[in-house]
């Protein structure tokens, strides 16, 4: 029996979908193993088609993107109902991803910036999206509601598995689909298509004992090519981030930014990383410690680049 799958995006950029396509000729294997019933980026099915299915008809739904608006939530709930297995695909669905950074602000601040105050906005009439719009006299149109919060998928619906990454490595998606096809999925709630250890495990850079005396930004120093970024004073989230991406940023001389999310048992990837960084600072007196901390620009969003919405505190308190 061929698998029946749906692939959908919420508040996403489409990168996850492209990552599926990036399996190149192996996409044909996927097509051979599965009937795709919904995939907006590549195929033409409508929501109505899904609504018509029996509950649980789909074997698997891959959901990429965060829950940013009511449409995202609606389809997430719809797919959850229709699919036996719900998989959060990519950082946004897994931990909120880049869109999750919007949790540093409230809905009104964002709308104001986007539709009124941004330098490139031309909106003399001050039009902002309205949830209900009367087209003519009796026809009502609805726009999805722009939420105050960005949520990862599992804060909205029950999620069975997670495939992390921004985007997930194509081969990892392929192998995860293999697990599904072969019915070899691990226990519910597991992260699949990624490693069990942190990125450092697959990072080729030499790691020594770490003592940090200042933090550098990328333009402040040319990183030495073979040594651990963190040891050189660049903030690298590798130690707090799951492996599986193939250390692609590291190979491009960019310290890890944490898109593969936390490891098992870690409740808050970013705060954990802060604790680790603070631990390996050299000085013992408040003044010198603060001098180093001064060199860390924007610590909260640096360590929560992809995981703010899934962090323990989730957002800036109003």
């Amino acid at each position: 029996m061929k698998l029946k799958i749906a692939i959908y995006w919420g508040a996403a950029c489409g990168g996850c979908d492209v990552a599926i396509l990036d399996t190149h000729e192996k996409i044909l294997d996927i097509a051979a193993a599965a009937d795709i019933l919904l995939w907006p980026v590549a195929m033409d099915f409508k929501y109505a088609d899904i609504r018509r299915l029996e509950d649980g008809y789909l074997d698997v739904a891959f959901f990429s993107g965060a829950i940013r608006n009511s449409e995202n939530e609606e389809i997430a709930r719809l797919l959850r109902r229709k699919a036996k297995t719900m998989i959060a695909l990519g950082s946004c669905a897994h931990t909120g991803g880049i869109p999750g950074l919007a949790n540093m602000y409230g809905r009104d601040e964002i709308l104001d910036r986007v539709y009124r105050s941004s330098e490139s906005t031309v909106n003399p009439e001050g039009i902002v999206p309205e949830e209900r719009y009367m087209a003519g006299t009796d026809e009502e149109l609805e726009l999805p509601r722009f939420y105050n919060n960005v949520r990862p998928l599992d804060q909205v619906v029950d999620v069975d598995y997670y495939i992390p990454g921004c985007p997930p490595a194509s081969m990892q998606i392929y192998s995860a689909i293999g697990l599904i096809a072969d019915d070899m999925l691990p226990k519910k709630g597991s992260v699949i298509g990624a490693g069990d250890r942190a990125l450092c495990d697959e990072c080729a850079r030499k790691k020594g004992e770490k003592t940090i005396n200042r933090i550098y930004r990328s333009h402040e120093k040319v990183p030495e090519p073979e040594t651990c970024f963190l040891e050189q004073g660049f903030i690298c989230l590798g130690p707090a981030t799951r492996s599986g991406c193939g250390s692609r940023c590291i190979k491009s001389v960019i310290p890890c930014r944490g898109c593969y999310g936390p490891l098992d048992d870690v409740k808050d990837q970013g705060i954990k990383m802060l604790g680790a960084i603070a631990s390996v600072l050299e000085p013992k007196d408040e003044k010198s410690i603060n001098a180093i901390l001064d060199t860390i620009v924007d610590p909260l969003r640096t360590v929560h680049r992809f995981s703010l919405a899934a962090s323990i505190l989730r957002r800036k308190k109003a």
């Binding site: 942190a198 990125l199 450092c200 651990c228 963190l230 130690p239 990383m273 680790a276 631990s279």
Partner: protein, 593 residues
């Protein structure tokens, strides 16, 4: 006896005062006489340096084989085969008497000359008397040049104006303050004083220059002398070297260097002891300014039978004290310095009082805050001292000064103290003050504790694992503490602790296995990525990196379970047994429910 210096091919026979003796060729008459035990007086002679024959007091009469007779100086006259020497006949005695009389006229109060005068029966000096102290023997000049290899002093002037002087009579940098000149001076006119500090005066209580070859203290282990490089002439000028010459066992090796020795040990007992509080910071007690204000340790040294005075208790001027004050709690039980009680001072102060009474009959005052005589037989000893008429004044001494105000204070040290039992301020004149300074922790205890992974308390002393249940253990397995490095304590307690520590070590060795902390941290090797964040965090060196597996590992035997690495591990793969994240988070949830 002088060594033969290799010239032993032929022996020379001669006769001194009718007795025959054989000595190596090249020996002097003085050497030969010494061999026979015949005493020939000398003044300018020292076996350390070439004979000089300046004072002529060693004059003897020699009869040659042909019967010819001559007066020669024994110190530098070489022996001849068959000569006969008369060391003390009438002629020799007459000559010596004249020499002594002339010297005595110059230096009428010099002890060695007085002794000689008595020996040769001089009752009246017929020449004009002078009060010089220096007999111009030149020993000092020659020892400085020949042994030390410097020329910091020499003769100056001629005839009647001949004297010993530094170049241009100024303080000279050539002088290395070795004290050799003072050591050889037969009249004691040369004194060594440190112009910048008081170390020379107090260390040996102005009884002579400090020695470069010394045994650290009488009970030292190993009880062997060592050379204090900073004091040794050889190490400063390349000269001297006499100790190597006289040592029959060739034990002295100037080339020896300090070396670091590595020893593999499974247990370490830290017994680094204490340091004495330096009372010179308490200016009001005049320590360092008044030569008769001593610390207890200095007094101990003075009082020691093997000390510089052979145990005679004396003041800086050599007189016996008639009143001695002992000041308790100097820098201890004092909020400005050390708040704790040094514990041992009361009892040693009582011991001193007893010994001073016994040895000098001096009156002894103890100035105390509280008498703390807890210990077996201690209170009884205190009672005995009370019966011995030792005076006890309860009150902290305010000041010790040499400025006399009242009667009987002239030339004394005056102790000003509030007698809190009577309620008046008293001034008590004494000759000698003994301060009982606080026992304080070694200044490098902190760095030391890092090496041994044990903790240091606020007072600087090492902290035991548990004050009652593990008094000689530390928080690091296999590291034990004993003695005053753990806190002030007396010898019985120290011995008991040392024995306890040794027993702990022996029991560990005997058991062949060790118990370890149950609440340790453990790394899940299957999930550790080897990021090495934790590697520098452990104060106990329990975390190491397995280069083979590329994971960090915790040595459970060393882990103390503090959990710092657990909190730092960004992967959550280090677990603190009994204090897991889950447990603590559940607690948080529980108490906030």
């Amino acid at each position: 006896m002088m060594k033969a210096n290799g010239k032993s091919e032929g022996l020379i026979r001669l006769e001194i005062d009718g007795r025959t003796v054989s000595v190596p060729d090249g020996s002097t008459i003085l050497d030969a006489a010494k061999l026979l035990g015949i005493e020939i007086p000398t003044l300018c002679y020292s076996p350390l340096i070439e004979p000089y024959a300046a004072c002529r007091i060693c004059s003897v009469e020699v009869e040659f084989s042909g019967g010819k007779r001559r007066i020669v100086t024994a110190c530098n006259y070489p022996v001849w085969e068959g000569i006969k020497v008369y060391s003390d006949n009438a002629k020799v005695r007459r000559i010596r008497r004249m020499i002594v009389e002339m010297l005595l006229a110059r230096c009428s109060s010099v002890g060695v000359l007085k002794d000689l005068a008595a020996k040769y029966g001089i009752e009246e000096v017929r020449l004009e008397k002078q009060e010089e102290k220096c007999i111009l023997c030149g020993l000092c000049v020659r020892v400085c040049a020949e042994v030390v290899g410097k020329a910091a002093i020499s003769f100056a002037g001629r005839g009647l104006h001949r004297r010993i002087a530094t170049p241009y009579d100024r303080e000279t940098e050539d002088c290395i303050a070795c004290g050799a000149c003072a050591l050889v001076c037969p009249t004691g006119v040369i004194r060594v004083e440190d112009t910048e500090g008081r170390s020379v005066a107090h260390e040996e209580l102005q009884l002579g220059p400090p020695k470069a070859v010394t045994v650290p203290f009488l009970q030292a282990v190993p009880n062997a002398p060592y050379i204090r490089v900073d004091r040794c002439i050889h190490f400063q000028t390349g000269g001297c070297g006499h100790c190597a010459e006289v040592c029959d066992r060739d034990a002295i090796d100037y080339e020896m260097k300090d070396e670091e020795i590595e020893v593999d040990a499974g247990n370490i007992i830290v017994a680094t002891g204490f340091e004495l509080f330096d009372p010179s910071v308490m200016g009001q007690y005049g320590y360092g300014r008044y030569r008769n204000v001593l610390t207890s340790l200095e007094f101990e040294h003075l009082n020691s039978a093997s000390g510089p005075t052979g145990g005679r208790i004396m003041l800086a001027n050599g007189d016996a004290p008639s009143v001695v004050g002992i000041v308790h709690c100097v820098g201890s039980r004092d909020q400005r310095y050390h708040e704790y009680c040094s514990k041992v001072c009361c009892m040693y102060a009582l011991k001193y009082a007893h010994l001073i009474k016994e040895k000098t009959k001096a009156e002894v005052y103890n100035f105390y805050i509280d008498m703390r005589c807890s210990g077996k037989g201690y209170e009884e000893f205190y009672d005995r001292l009370l019966a011995e008429d030792v005076r006890f004044v309860r009150g902290k001494v305010g000041e010790i000064s040499h400025v006399p105000i009242g009667e009987g204070e002239e030339g004394k040290l005056v102790i000003r103290v509030e007698d809190t039992l009577v309620g008046i301020v008293r001034r008590i004149p004494v000759d000698m003050v003994i301060l009982c300074p606080a026992m304080k922790a070694q200044p490098d205890a902190k760095e030391f504790s890092r090496v041994f992974s044990c903790s240091v308390g606020r007072d600087g002393f090492f902290i035991e694992k548990h004050p009652k249940l593990a008094p000689v253990s530390t928080t690091t397995e296999g590291i034990f503490i004993a003695g005053a490095c753990q806190g002030p304590k007396d010898i019985p307690e120290t011995v008991a602790q040392g024995a306890a520590a040794a027993a702990e070590v022996l029991s560990l060795i005997d058991r062949k296995e060790i118990e370890i902390e149950a609440a340790t941290a453990v790394i899940d090797e299957e999930r550790c990525s080897g990021c090495r964040i934790c590697n520098t965090l452990c104060s106990f060196g329990a975390i190491s990196f397995d280069e083979q597996k590329k994971v960090s590992v915790i040595n459970a035997a060393l882990c103390k379970g503090c959990g710092t690495c657990v909190a730092a591990c960004p992967q959550g793969v280090i677990k603190a047994r009994h204090f897991t994240d889950r447990q603590i988070v559940s607690e948080i949830e529980g108490i906030l429910r």
